[in-house]
Amino acid sequence: MEFITNLGNLLAPITQPTYLLYTVASVFVGVYVGAIPGLSATMAASLLISFTFSWDILSAMAVMIGVHVGAVYGGSRSAILLNIPGAPAAIATSWDGYPLALKGQAGRAIGTTAVQSFIGGILGTIVMLVASPAVASVALKFTPRDYLLLALMGLMLVSSLGEGSTWRAIMGVGFGLFIGCIGMDASTGLQRFTFGNTYLMQGVSYITVMIGLFGMSEALMQMRDMRTEAVRQDVSKITPRLSDVFRYAPLTLQCSALGVFVGALPGTGGDIAALLAYDHAKRTVRRPEVPFGQGAMEGIVAPESANNASVPGGYIPLLTLGIPGDTVTAIILGALYIHGLHPGPLLMTQSADVFWFIIGTMFIANLALLACGLTGIKLFAKIVEIPKYILMPAIIILSVVGSYTVNNSVTDIYWMLGFGVIGYFLKLYHVPIGPIILGTILRSLIELNYRRGIAIAFYSVPDYIMGFFTHPLSLGLLIFLVFMIFSQSAVYKKWADGRAEARELRKRSRKAAKSGK
């Protein structure tokens, strides 16, 4: 009987037209909210919490989940078309998405992101359905040491982002980490590098840095040569071929699994998941059709499947433990409290209807995402065809609005403009800007968990270091990190290339032997 009731709640978003309508409409709105720089899933969810205050809980959840799923995907559109990631989760998508748009393949790139986001979202929801308690219990075992190791793994991406010079990439990551330190320290309130200036006390938001370094600097770079015509976009092939979906399926599966797990870790979200997935793709895909950073489809497949898989992942600790995975789920936690619910281990028994309804809505939202994500692509792709003399100043205005909305502060606009100019010079002199963003994003995760970890070890460095070897999870992660570092060394690369060449030679000689027969 209980099974039938739960199944009914799971299917409620389909069987009841009102919920279905709310979910589909909110996914549609979410896609376009995410696509506009300056509007984010967090902002939309916080607006909705007041808007849906008087609604019944299931309708409120349908709308909030729909917007969340849609907006995480939507961020990829502006990343591909304008090189301004609509959300931090779309940063990695811009690294290969924007080069594709410059080659006239924006439609193909957006179509691929829609399909991959859908697959990632569905796989994440399946994990949420069948393994919520198990994933949550593993995620809970993560200590500050393990979070630090995870963030350091994310930082390893720096070597693959430094096209040309690894040292310049390392300089960039150090710069990003340092920029993140400016402002009032969150735990002690100490002012760091603020010179007593109140405007500097709130620090530098990584969204501001991201918009400045990506959007603003790109617009300035494009203004260097106004003679080149806008690239005509090929919008004849938008939906990816089924054979392509199958070709990328192993990568999609791996990155979705990574995404759902990273999403389930409290304090991490789609941005970290997408960065780790991009790094994973760069390591594992040996021969992409186009090199990474120049329009590789794998560079879109990996982050997009991971960031949308991280959405249901973020709901796992929320529903099973009452701990939000990221900012949007923190707002949803507030919405649940407002409606008199107490997310946690008892939610599944005391409010089973809500629990199963959320999972059902997640499925429907991802199905709706596939439909909504494939709409308006032809129109959106035309944005890239707008003449430069109109598009570039408009991008600068969007960057201004986007940075202002972070804290409703004019200071953020100045920061953004400053980083835009810095980004312009960095690009001119071949200093990769990706590592700076990476450092700014990962700074809080690294610093917070380093300080927590060392405090737990009573500020004893030997005890802190020993912890990495005595705790099985930390040791496993440490070994993996060491392997990641080793795999980037010249020795390993030489060995791996030698093996690949030998394999190729064996294949050729086998073919030659066969044809000889």
Binding site: V33, M223, V400, I413, L428
Partner: protein, 159 residues
């Protein structure tokens, strides 16, 4: 045999500039650490971050020590400055930089809508001087569009 790599105009000075910035950051972090010592304190992480930047900047300079100069012939400082300027700000780039700076300055006093319209209009007629009326209408349309989407539909506060 592979040819030697060549500097861009002003690249060497730029790398030295980044090293100077990294040294300043590192010194500032060390000063903070001396005021607030401790391996788990407020200043420990900034020291590590600044050290990473310093290391990267120093090794970036070492990496290019055998590169060929951007111009093989001996040039005076003034000639070098002119060449660097042309490389950094070709065409109307400097004017566009100045427009961005002016926009930031007038944004507070004129308000978002007027400042944005003026910036867009000035940028468009500078980048393409033909069709002034068309540029004006497009600038007006973009300003109105942004105001409608952000200010009206999503009730976002505009600067």
């Amino acid at each position: 045999m592979k040819g030697k790599k060549k500097f861009e105009m002003g690249e060497h000075s730029f790398l030295w500039g980044t090293l100077v910035v990294a040294i300043i950051f590192f010194a500032a972090a060390v000063m903070l650490y001396r005021a607030h010592p401790g391996v788990g304190g407020d200043a420990a992480f900034p020291v590590m971050a600044a050290f990473i930047m310093l290391l990267g900047a120093a090794l970036s300079i070492l990496e290019v020590r055998h590169w060929e100069p951007a111009h093989p012939e001996r040039l005076s400082l003034a000639e070098k400055a002119v060449l660097a300027y042309r490389m950094l700000f070709p065409d109307k780039t400097l004017i566009m930089f100045l427009y961005v700076l002016l926009y930031a300055l007038i944004l507070g006093s004129l308000g978002f809508n007027i400042a944005t319209f003026l910036y867009l209009f000035a940028s468009m007629i500078t980048l393409r001087p033909k069709n002034i009326l068309r540029s004006g209408l497009i600038a007006l349309g973009i300003t109105a569009g942004i105001w409608l989407i952000f200010g009206v539909a999503f009730r976002v506060r505009l600067p």
